[in-house]
Symmetry: C2
Subunit: 469 residues, 2 copies
Amino acid sequence: MKSSPLILLSSIIFAAIIGCQHTPTTDRNQGVSAQLQQKALSSPLAYDIVESLTVEVGPRLPGSAQDLIAVQWAEEKLSNLGFDKVYKEPVQVPVWLRGEAKAAVVSPYPQPIVITALGGSVGTPEQGISAPIIRFATLAELKQATPDDVAGKIVFIDHITPRFKTGKGYGITVGGRSKGAVAAAEKGAIAIVIRSIGTDHDRMAHTGMMRYQDGIPKIPAAAMSNPDADLLTLMLKRNPDVVLNLNMSPQNKGYATSYNVIGEVTGSSKPDEIVLIGAHLDSWDEGTGAIDDGAGVAIVTAAGHLISQLPQKPARTIRVVLYAAEEVGLVGGKTYAKAHQAELSNHYIAAESDFGAGPIYQIDFKVADDAFKDIQTLTASMAANGVAAGTNTASGGPDVSMLPSYGVPVASLRQDGTDYFDYHHTPNDTLDKIDPKALAQNVAAYAQFAYLMAQSNIELRPLPKPETD
Amino acid sequence: MKSSPLILLSSIIFAAIIGCQHTPTTDRNQGVSAQLQQKALSSPLAYDIVESLTVEVGPRLPGSAQDLIAVQWAEEKLSNLGFDKVYKEPVQVPVWLRGEAKAAVVSPYPQPIVITALGGSVGTPEQGISAPIIRFATLAELKQATPDDVAGKIVFIDHITPRFKTGKGYGITVGGRSKGAVAAAEKGAIAIVIRSIGTDHDRMAHTGMMRYQDGIPKIPAAAMSNPDADLLTLMLKRNPDVVLNLNMSPQNKGYATSYNVIGEVTGSSKPDEIVLIGAHLDSWDEGTGAIDDGAGVAIVTAAGHLISQLPQKPARTIRVVLYAAEEVGLVGGKTYAKAHQAELSNHYIAAESDFGAGPIYQIDFKVADDAFKDIQTLTASMAANGVAAGTNTASGGPDVSMLPSYGVPVASLRQDGTDYFDYHHTPNDTLDKIDPKALAQNVAAYAQFAYLMAQSNIELRPLPKPETD
């Protein structure tokens, strides 16, 4: 086996670090960190895990039969990989069934368009609904509209999601998906169909969660593909009177029990202190949940496994949490925070992998201001794996995003998300979108991160106070 | 407006050509050809035409209501663009309705897979069919199989279509689509599902025509997306007993009348002699038929229009033929050849644009061996538009491919098809896949080709005899 440039660079940086820091413990930690990187980069384990999940389980909508198959899969996988403790914790999850979703332009240019129901949406009456559409460039524009212009119509929000390495384009447009139905119904619209929150040009629509609000009518909500949004816009340029027919049969079916699945590598000297690395086990249903979030499941599971195989276990416990029902409202994350509230003071730090399988280029923290420089020094060796030091403004990832409010420090291992929103929440979320090399780089980063955090002597609390507006 | 490098290069080559060729007619022809190129490259007309067709008509399956809307659209478009004669000729087309097509792995790893019915396929019984699958790497492998191994099963042909600029990968694998159902049924299979004939990794399946054979049972035939074929292959590696459920409701509905729509620029001195440039008006139904073959419709229509706007019409008649029902068996092309049989001796040359909107890089002919060098000299100025001289082995394109057997010379303007089979016959065949600049380059090439052929004094017949094996 030839040494890769990353591994060679790692050795150089490791040598530089042990040249500067003189305690034997620190030297040993950095040595182990470099070994973990090397092992991770040459291991096919994470790819094998995500292949197993997508092939043997496939899509796993919260509360579905496949969701429970995924729970069983996860328990078996963690057990077979030699985690010291494997257990599951119940999570009450909302159950939503997709049903069918069809749409067609009725006039002036009859032709079908491709849509998908947004998660949580109600259906149309069985015969469907037909109404003129009214286009808004953004959610903000819809909010400023006159109710008389909107009442009785189908709202069309045509906001294009821009492409960024950070994925920040999603934040710009996703409000139309999550809040559009309420804003439209408040003005009397009878349905809403948004341009997909996605950066691709594929004729497939991006699903994702939407919300209703008590006291405001629940109207059907769907997304159309980007080419279909282009099509409607070109029709409207020719003729402002475009009538759309929508026929959707999703159903909200109450609640079911799913589970957060947890595997632990028990700490050698501080077993009650927790370094949490998480991902979410559930997925949307039209792909196989490979990048969202099979990749994350594979990354943190493989990272935990690599640490479990070390000759000497780290001081703190590494807890791998595979959350339930992230997609439908961070339900597993919220349930975990509540169930573990008494224990959260023992959570040294937490991070979730939930942004596909693109390479990690930066690590951000949210720790005590006094600790930030030290924690950057401790993790400087991650640069050999392409992970630069970042900011102290991390959120940690969706399922751990509520932990800082309980005082728990978090980290965000930033991935290159340039193409993430090409595939996110579509049928295209399949195994072939994962680059095994980039996936292994993620495993290396999480393994190094988790190990170094489990060995760290730095006091990470108290967190800086949140900025107020 | 700045001159583009192509236009400048064109002027240089034009100057070189008129420096070498001394008859005033030839000089004038090359001058007009250079003007046509320049006008085409700066005109948005072709893009406007394909936008109009995809937005105002959309998909147009032969014999459907939208097919007749397309015929009306084409007549109006040709008339509005000032063609001297616009008319249509009836074509009896087979009518096939897609219905629904669903598939799911029943065991050992239950999950849905994405399929589409192949054109012409029969449906399954209403309750669907479930059976073990048997995988073959190629159609040839299926043909060698023992009937005992195949009987009662669903055949899965897993042939991967390789990517080539010429598109020749399609020719390698498409037999599995067109002939797979007969080969499978001959050995007792109850259905066939092939890996899509496509070079993409999108979770959408490629449709396309399949054929049955008298005396052999008609079994349902579908294609699955490439990621789904990967999925089944990975399942089969884990467990050879994979049971698939198929539920398809396509219907063959007899015949209907559609039309070849024809527009002519009447020749000034040899009006009975025809230079035919064609494309097909029909399309598959899941995209909007932008690249297949809205692009071709736009290219030949815009080329004809440009020639119609010349101060002096060319000698021969330019006949733009928009064929019906190419997708379901070259029906419009065959009908044209039959209806015009008496006139085919007056067809100077024919060419069809039916390979998307990628740039043309080469022109091939099928003309008399004695004429080949002269016709290459006559069209040498096309090199300024990126079109190199090619071979004397052209087929001319699907709807004119039968004309050489009647003695009619043909040309093939070869397009870069590197990404054509990413989108071909899928929902992804939409307007955004067309690059307006490449489309305009095609228009320039067809306008130059048609004009030069209409002015040519070269005797192109008799055609070389077909090679025999």
